[in-house]
Subunit: 424 residues, 2 copies
Amino acid sequence: MELILQPAKTTWHRLLQRPALDLADLTEKVKAVLEEVRLNGDAAVRKYALLFDRVELNTTEVQQQEIEAAEAIVSAELKAAINTAAKNITSFHSKQFYPVEVIETMPGVQCWRKSVGIEKVGLYIPGGTAPLFSTILMLGIPAKLAGCKEIILCSPPDKTGKLHPAILYAAQLVGATKIFKIGGVQAIAAMAYGTETISPVSKIFGPGNQYVTCAKQFIQQDGIAIDMPAGPSEVCVMADDSANPAFIAADLLSQAEHGADSQVLLVALSSELVNNVEEELNKQLELLPRKDLAGKALQNSKAIVVSNIDEAIELVNEYAAEHLIISCDGHEAIAERIVNAGSVFLGHYSPESVGDYASGTNHTLPTNGYARAYSGVSVDSFVKKITYQKLTEQGLQQIASTVELLAEAEGLQAHANAVRIRLK
Amino acid sequence: MELILQPAKTTWHRLLQRPALDLADLTEKVKAVLEEVRLNGDAAVRKYALLFDRVELNTTEVQQQEIEAAEAIVSAELKAAINTAAKNITSFHSKQFYPVEVIETMPGVQCWRKSVGIEKVGLYIPGGTAPLFSTILMLGIPAKLAGCKEIILCSPPDKTGKLHPAILYAAQLVGATKIFKIGGVQAIAAMAYGTETISPVSKIFGPGNQYVTCAKQFIQQDGIAIDMPAGPSEVCVMADDSANPAFIAADLLSQAEHGADSQVLLVALSSELVNNVEEELNKQLELLPRKDLAGKALQNSKAIVVSNIDEAIELVNEYAAEHLIISCDGHEAIAERIVNAGSVFLGHYSPESVGDYASGTNHTLPTNGYARAYSGVSVDSFVKKITYQKLTEQGLQQIASTVELLAEAEGLQAHANAVRIRLK
């Protein structure tokens, strides 16, 4: 880790910058695949499955017997763990509903707002080094709670044309309505535009590589909603001398092992702590199966020492981390002053990994500083909030002169007429 | 209006399609302006103000004395109307907060979610034919309620370098922190990237022409959030024989007068009703100052007659209107079955124009079928919802085996270690 001692505020902006994700060189390739799937549907999907995933499938939709077979393979222990995580995620997300409240803004003028599930959503689950069945829970559970009617899941098959059994187990557990063995840009295109076998969705969720990220940007331009912009995963650990260097090192490594581009930031109140964390990092890194990836990530990462807790809070708010771990005395009071973060982990016994899997909060969170304006995925992400108003004749009389005056001042006579004609 | 009698469902998709908004030919121009403002800041803003708005300003920021002068000009009646609208919008939006609820998903595992206002937001208010001070209320009031610290407002000045007094009155009423006389793409660029005089914002709201829409799409690619994708305003009126043809005609015209590209759709249960509405349209259109615009919009609009209310509901759900007026008996029961709409107006005394100005609901709504996945603007649009978790040592023990199993099954050893090392 690069050690930076008491940097001047003027340098913070540069220090906290993430590496720019340049998709420019991908755009032409991605556009071509999107366009071909839009025009040729399943044929194009099959073509690119063969080209990119080296697999040929007559049918991309997962069949019931495949799901049953997978259920038989997944160990009882793993099933129990998945079920426990699902239970906690369900408890937390099921509290994200609020009763419809009718508000009478004026006598006879009633207004209210109702959440309605987005009818058709698509979940993309990457394949590759790790089968991210936890992401299926994080997206599928709120989708189901929100009342989405169609929950389509796409994930790339392995060379033998199979999905990981835990992926299938989690998918049926959350109630995915259809599961397709399709990966990458062609999966995003198929869900966005539809094919002979896949009906188009209104919103697409899920992580992915740079190609998938680029594809989601394009389909967003076509009016299909996406969960949020994507970037490499990141953690910021804020630590005072009450922190345990071994715990911090373990947290930094659990982020670093995601990949060489993972962002890891330590904000400490003393350089002694940083040195102790460095020692622990070297010890723990050696024992990791993914130590090459983690090591690379650590090389690009920073440890910043600041003079006091106020400065630390200001710094982490400017950074706007996806995950923020507060390993400090008085973490509750500090948490109150955090204004930019995806998810916050308080105290010495709340490692990021509990939020990644099982505490109940969602792990689909804004990276790359997007936490300044974006929230993580929640039930809100799967609903629209429709507003309603109902006026009685008396209510309309109450509000009439206001609407007429405003409409005329904006030069919109017909808006005024729509009120007048009803009160003639 | 084009009359369509009982169309087959297979034709609905085509019938309900909106005209495609092609921004392709604008992109190069818009990109160039964005890039120049990003590089040259205020100088570029001044250059384009002169080029596009034909106005030269030494300082673009509105001064206190200009606001006071404007307040003196705005009539007492108009101020009262603006204040009444503001009061209703405030009553409705102030109910969009929910208490923080700590959920113990397992003994010793506490999770909660808190809404925090986006620190810096930008509001764009177009100039042109109508001074849209109502949009200032619709964006500024929830921004203030959400606790946004900086609320920057940009609007193009007239040839004399002034903003409409009602714009300034509304801006100070909602508590805009800074007001700038900047329009178009250069305003979006200035708020997104910042200049010597404008600090960059995290999210940009507000309507605009195709150039502004295109600019908002670009800055969204750079990670600055936007309120929602834009399209021409639209209304769908759903009417049975209990409806008053004169009321319906007035509602259709109040949408049509927005501009030639406004979308107007009538879904009726009988062709008699459509004919009577047509008659009323011709009568009322003649008396409108903006009858040319409204007339053009009506030429592109449709009246669809369906056989029964179920089909009508299915049709309007497929259309996903920005504004849906239900002029039918049993409108409450029908409203319960609406799943895609921006804002719904129930009964014969709830014209769209009350929602445009003063009922209390927000008028910044998803057009172009985006209501399938997007909500209108609300307090939610101005906050991030940050999640928190705090585990006790006992809580971590409770959840440890679950996290370790899941992490290992996903091949993420360091994630498991972060738990293990704390329980050694």
